[in-house]
Symmetry: C2
Subunit: 618 residues, 2 copies
């Protein structure tokens, strides 16, 4: 049993001790063969040459025949397991699995568990399968989206739903590891009979156990739930949470046995201090949840590691929580550490402070190397002839990645100016309206009321400095159009329209100029999906999202450039938010506080009850 190659004298991460020690690591095929202070070659073997120079050029196919394995000097490098991200959504990056794979690997992430609830909201199980069908060097496991649509078809019109039959179907695929972010607290804890009166989510949880027994996890989403409610939620079988934590919630949830998946917004100094001082690393994982396309260019889970370290977590612990604990949570016992028999998924770093992957190995093959990181890629045996290192220059993929109808999912007529008028049914001069007030940070809105003038039977919302939000059902189901008013969006004259509109992904138009709203809406319809900003009566920036109206099939850097231009217009128009794209994209998300707009109208999120736009006529 001969190693393919040996990396000598690297500082290797010892997972069970969470420290580094100098070791040699031998790799055979897609697995680690041996980890030892010194790996001796067999009698008669000599080191395969590796002089640090490229021998065969970039794609280096066959290495010359040698007596012994290729030997690479890892001195001065840190060797850690590939990162494992167990709560994330590929669609947040508006890209497709193959492209996502490239950038995730570049960031040192070698395994993800994707909850594809966005594509499922458009195409249902077919959308999930289309993702699963894409072969990627990145290992992509799946969570079953538990809340598609986010609320119910009575409250919003999604393109499709995931019900118990789809859950059963998906559980047959062993890449499915969990039921994803169960969130509807009331439906989870509602009391009923043993089986007959179960809510749908209760049925889903039961079915997971019936079909797969111990081998499936139930992941939760339970911000601010505490005390008896939290106990009931966990009692129902949900024992992980990835929402925003506080120091108190970390302690309460940990004491009750909840596994915590910490994303950037949870990684405050207080939360990290709570994790560190109580030694809770074993039941904490770092996750990305959502990574916007432009952010994905800069990193993926490695970025969260940097954020955790910045917030005070020792880097050795952050590595642990980004590799071993998430793998173990998902019963992926074949990875998450550097040890014999484990997958040869690992990352080389030049220093721990910067935490920037210098080289990334997936399944034993070198899949990424930063310029000047040494010249590992010169050694042919470090990556096979089908190297996933993307050699192509930017450009659309040669063949379509999805079924043809995935490119024609925007079933919506082009709007007219008359679609953007709020008519008043009763004679009056003023109305009191319910308004969604945006935050400058995050996606929550506040419900406020404003008094607006009425003229010619129309509400004069423009004079009050508000924006109009119009949501067009676009899945071809009922042609609903719903109206809302927004405070805190564009301050200057302009508009935007998008089909990337969580979670049902209907077509949202937001603006303060009817002319611009028409232009933006029409352009999105023409593009069959996208994010368009308009001013002066015409579209001025756009990001195409032709696949299901939420995904771009071009290279990510093109998309990021396009989206950057949209962002720039948002800034010019005075839209203030840490992530304006996400802010607009969640105006229609009816599970995020407090007042949101679905294609059925305004919805009070907490009570899940409809709210009239016009509260009173005066």
């Amino acid at each position: 049993m001969r190693a393919d190659y040996i990396i000598r004298n690297a500082q290797v991460y010892l997972t069970f001790r969470q420290c580094f020690a100098e070791r040699d690591v031998a790799v055979l095929g897609d697995k680690i063969l041996e980890v030892s202070p010194k790996i001796f070659l067999a009698d008669g073997e000599r080191d395969g040459e590796h002089d640090g120079e490229r021998e065969n050029g970039e794609g280096g196919a066959g290495a010359p025949k040698r007596d012994g394995p290729t030997v690479v000097d890892g001195s001065g490098m840190y060797l850690i397991p590939g990162l494992v991200d167990i709560h994330m959504h590929i669609e947040s990056s508006m890209t497709y699995p193959k492209e996502f794979s490239y950038f995730a690997l570049k960031a040192g992430t070698t395994t993800v568990v994707a909850d594809s609830h966005e594509i499922a909201n458009v195409f249902g199980i077919e959308g999930i399968r289309a993702f699963m069908d894409q072969k990627t060097p990145l290992d992509i496991f799946y969570a079953i989206p538990s809340s598609v649509p986010a609320t119910s078809m009575e409250l919003e019109t999604a393109g499709a739903a995931i019900g118990t039959e789809e859950v059963r179907e998906l559980l047959k695929d062993d890449r499915v590891l969990c039921l994803g972010e169960v969130m509807n607290f009331q439906e989870v804890v509602r009391e009923g009979g043993r089986t007959g009166d179960e809510t749908q989510i209760q049925q889903m949880i039961r079915i997971c156990g019936e079909e797969r027994g111990r081998d499936v996890r139930i992941e939760g989403h339970c911000p601010k739930i505490t005390g008896k409610d939290l106990n009931r939620f966990i009692y129902a079988g949900i024992d992980a949470d990835h929402t925003q934590q506080t120091a108190d919630s970390v302690l309460e949830k940990s004491d009750l046995g909840m596994f915590l998946e910490l994303q950037a917004k949870s990684l405050t100094k207080e939360v990290v201090e709570a994790v560190c001082s109580h030694g809770l690393y074993e039941n904490v994982a770092l996750v990305t949840d959502d990574t916007m396309p432009d952010h994905l260019l800069e990193g993926q889970l490695d970025r969260i590691v940097r954020i955790a370290v910045e917030a005070g977590m020792p880097v050795e612990k952050a590595i642990y929580c980004a590799t071993y604990t998430p793998a173990r949570r998902m019963h992926l016992d074949d990875r998450g550490m550097i040890g014999p028999g484990k997958k040869a998924d690992f990352v080389l770093l030049k220093d721990l402070e910067g935490f920037r992957p210098a080289a990334v190995f997936k399944d034993g093959r070198l899949v990424h190397e930063t310029a000047g990181a040494g010249s590992l890629s010169g050694s042919g045996s470090l990556h096979g002839s089908d190297s996933p290192i993307r050699s192509d220059s930017p450009g659309a993929p040669k063949e379509r990645l999805f079924p043809p109808h995935f490119y024609h999912s925007v079933h919506c007529k082009k709007a007219q100016p008359s679609d953007f008028r709020i008519k008043v049914e009763k004679p009056c001069t003023k109305v009191l309206v319910n308004v969604m007030k945006l935050s400058t940070f995050g996606t929550a809105t506040q419900r406020v009321q404003r008094e607006l003038a009425v003229r010619d039977g129309q509400v004069c919302w423009q004079e009050a400095g508000l924006c109009l939000a119009v949501l067009f059902e676009r899945h071809g189901k009922n042609g609903n159009i719903a109206y809302g008013l927004v405070e805190g969006a564009f301050q200057k004259k302009g508009a935007a329209a998008t089909t990337w509109c969580h979670d049902s992904h209907n077509l949202l138009v937001l603006g303060n100029s009817i002319q611009d709203m028409v232009a933006a809406q029409n352009r999105v319809v023409e593009l069959e999906g996208g994010f368009v900003a308009a001013k002066e009566g015409r579209p001025v920036a756009e990001a195409r999202l032709p696949v299901g109206g939420i995904i771009c099939d071009a290279p990510l850097n093109e998309l990021a450039d396009d989206l950057g231009r949209v962002r720039q217009v948002f800034r010019e128009l005075g839209y203030v938010n840490n992530n304006a794209i996400m802010s607009m994209g969640t105006v229609a998300l009816p599970v995020s506080p407090a007042l949101k707009l679905t294609d059925h109208g305004l919805l009070d999120v907490e009570s899940q009850e409809r709210i009239p736009l016009i509260e009173a006529y005066r």
Copy 2:
């Protein structure tokens, strides 16, 4: 959702922090419903009465109707999860699952993973199934015995074998959690083709993955294996070890990703110091492995916790390693901690120092209470009408627990004095013989050589202070009889015979008096299995083991008494060993160092080669 009962103000073990805090614990059915600093009753509810007095006597069926749940005062008590023992053999206690269950629960153990390789050596998969068919309040999961017989049918005659077909068959039962103690290093690491040339054990490991994917563990047995060999062993897929550790082996194995199951003999101060100083608790579990019948009366995994604490492990960490880490190792995520939704398996202790279970709850029901532990059992709602608290006085079970032929497994003729003579084929006056020298501690033997006189064509072994060991194949397969000589067994005149003879369980007779050997052997045959000691020409102590020749169907305390008398005779006859029963019972175990006797003759364990009894004729 109303709790059945609430235990208030106990010091409850918080698993993720490995500490205690005052909590109320509510139980509903077989699960924990809530764990909170204070559990409030619903409006209009009042505490169900519980005055500490017995109301309905021992079996207390129906509790009176009450407004609220029964409330029990847990002040001053420690409440910890039920213990989880993931490496053990029920047959080591020479008893059957139902009886074992009673004593394990009494000791606070609520879940075990049993490797039934002893009964499998006698009856094969049918024996394992017979164990699995016994319903017990104790949760018994199973390991598939990977080494039945311990070596091969070429080297020893067992009653049955477990091959790849049996592995496939057993994997269908979801109580099967792992492949048990893979031990044959050479067969594990032997290199061959991809599938065609695999060894049987390699096939078994592959099949486990194919049939059950992530949901099955591969458990190992690799004492003293280190360095490259250890890497290869782990690379083959085996990532746990329960054999004797040293401080060095703990560190080396942990660094390579091995989970360590520490039994009593591993719990030295040095090993515990290594675990503690490197914080290796997460990947360490406490296990019993073998518990003799008389020891089982005194405890089970609780005893190992006491030993660990005695050796220097903080009790909070020992609890962790006896509850949560073993449950997690086996993917038993529904237990091992006190939290909502977890199994209501828990133990009340009066103090941590003594670590003696005062009350034990399994599936929410009180199944054991020590005299004077309070009067929990007075509360009817703490245990159902089918309480597993054994109310019967000692006596044989009313119905047979196993199929009829399990009681007739000793297929061996009664021996004659002539069976105990070693004849010499060649003319000589002396012979040089290979002798198994017993240790006074443990089961290993040493290979030594002795020169013995020959008279009348027979070896005069008695004059040299040796004992004769004669092994009769007793499974009805070939009638083999094999001879060995033993140093360090009985010093005075006597003999013993047993069918409890690891692992093939043939009939071993050991003694220095032919008359006594005949008497002991004949009595074991009459009993159809057992452990018999004889002196002065007649059996003087005996423990019946009628089921397969290895298990007693009487209550454990009767068996323990009987076995105690056998032990006493061993002592009187000068047999010096920390566990003389086990010492004799492993003379025929060909995977324990260094020279052992199978029904084919003497075997050198390391080389697995046969050794002649007579090395030279002089």
